[in-house]
Subunit: 276 residues, 2 copies
């Protein structure tokens, strides 16, 4: 593990880190914010998973999470959205390949060699955080935006004992049924759509996976609401399967970081309450 950037901010330390990932079989980069409280005691961890085309950097610069993280004493971990490097298979589109790992473990060649973001986020990255930082690993929560909202929800639904709470900003709710997801899932997971269900929030809930509650914020002016995000499918699945969904629709907000940053402090406070 190597710290490649360090800035004091909001009383804590904002780091950018590279490390050799066994899971993704390449060098991976992530950011971590250590609140001032982490100097004195182990702190809870909140993972933020980013959306299509992003790296760790977008939310680290534009997410406005540090003031609230410092207030509540929460470590914020922001991984990349895919493996990276010259040897990593890619296609020249924004919604697949580099910057678009969809938080799955790919089963199909050539993608299976590197695209294992699900195991990276749920296993390798937490192990590294536990080893290197003053983190209370019994208190982990997860959130994300768009493709990262999808990622956060599947990680929590598949590991309800690992994550204390889960929230999302404008999440892709049912990638198997969304423009963005179908292309990616067919290439990462193959043509047998039954294998897609293990990485699809709505399908996971339909298949009996459970978390007690999910907080979702969504802008009404989001240009991807109908085709990529599809919150009504999430509402239906949650309502039919006993998952308490708090869906807050926000008038005039779009899909950008101007939206995310507006509600980031709310999400951190919401997780903080549950992380104790």
């Amino acid at each position: 593990m190597q710290i490649i950037n360090e800035n004091t901010s909001h009383g804590g330390r904002q780091l950018v880190i590279t490390h050799d990932s066994e899971t993704c079989n390449c060098e991976m980069k992530f950011s971590v914010f250590l609140p001032p409280q982490a100097k004195a005691k182990p702190c809870p961890v909140l993972y933020y998973l980013s959306g299509l085309t992003c790296s760790h950097a977008n939310v680290t610069e534009k997410g406005e999470f540090r003031a609230a993280a410092a207030e509540h004493g929460i470590i914020i971990v922001c991984p990349d959205t895919s493996p990276r490097g010259d040897n990593v298979a890619d296609e020249d589109v924004y919604f697949f390949g580099l910057g678009a790992g969809f938080y799955v473990d790919a089963s199909e060649a050539p993608f299976s060699e590197h695209y294992n973001m699900y195991s990276y986020v749920t296993k390798e990255l937490p192990k590294l955080i536990a080893e290197e930082f003053n983190a209370d690993m019994s208190c982990q929560s997860i959130t994300g935006h768009s493709m990262g909202g999808h990622g956060a929800m599947i990680c929590a639904l598949k590991n309800p004992d690992t994550y204390t709470s889960v929230s999302a900003f404008a999440p892709i709710c049912a990638p198997s049924q969304a423009e963005w997801g179908q292309n990616a899932f067919s290439k990462y997971l193959g043509s047998d759509k039954s294998s897609w269900r293990a990485f699809d929030t709505v399908a996971l809930i339909e298949d009996g996976n459970k978390v007690p509650e999910i907080l979702v914020d969504q802008g009404t002016a989001d240009e991807f609401l109908e085709t990529g995000i599809r919150v009504p499918l999430l509402e239906k699945a949650c309502s039919e399967n006993g998952v308490d969904l708090t869906l807050r629709m926000h008038d005039g907000y779009d899909h950008s970081y101007y939206f995310i940053s507006s509600f980031m402090a709310d999400h951190i406070a919401w997780h903080a309450k549950r992380l104790g």
Copy 2:
């Protein structure tokens, strides 16, 4: 005036605007955040002047000012740092020319044709804000970072009746005596150093220009503290000339937006108190 970007954020509207500037003789771009209160009543205005290499965009994305601006009901206006365009004279260095207008009115050819950022910021831009937005122009304050901190202080010192209050983040305090400033001032203002004093904070204070108080935040790990910023010169000038300087040194903070964003809410609250 043309709105080229608009995002709902923190209950308000974040706009990016272009207009033909008479003062700079080119198209100029700036951002303006209208807090939710501006829908109902005229709001005070806080100008934020950016530092070397920046445009309006850096602080608009990374400054973390919207939450506090929405809380206090203040319009935030962020101009560019220089004229722009293919016809604008430039040199291929980061500390002069494009992105480095130093908030002076240049007297020397070829720069005098476009580099009139002082008049742009103090006259043309406020006139446009007054015409186009629900702004209370009797309540204007100004702040800035680095070269923009220099800009904020000279604008306030030269127009003490226009600006209710002035603050700065890691400001260039005495450009006439600093690496960054000497090159720029000699080219914009000519070799006669007496003309530099009209655009130099320390010299303006020495020459009897006054504001009641200045708030300055400064990181101790700022790599430009000794050569570019030189706060001791500001401390001395203020102390000898009856300007109440609140200088807050912050352990471990550098010159980046991670520093600025950490104290942005403080500055907005400080101005809000004075703007009433």
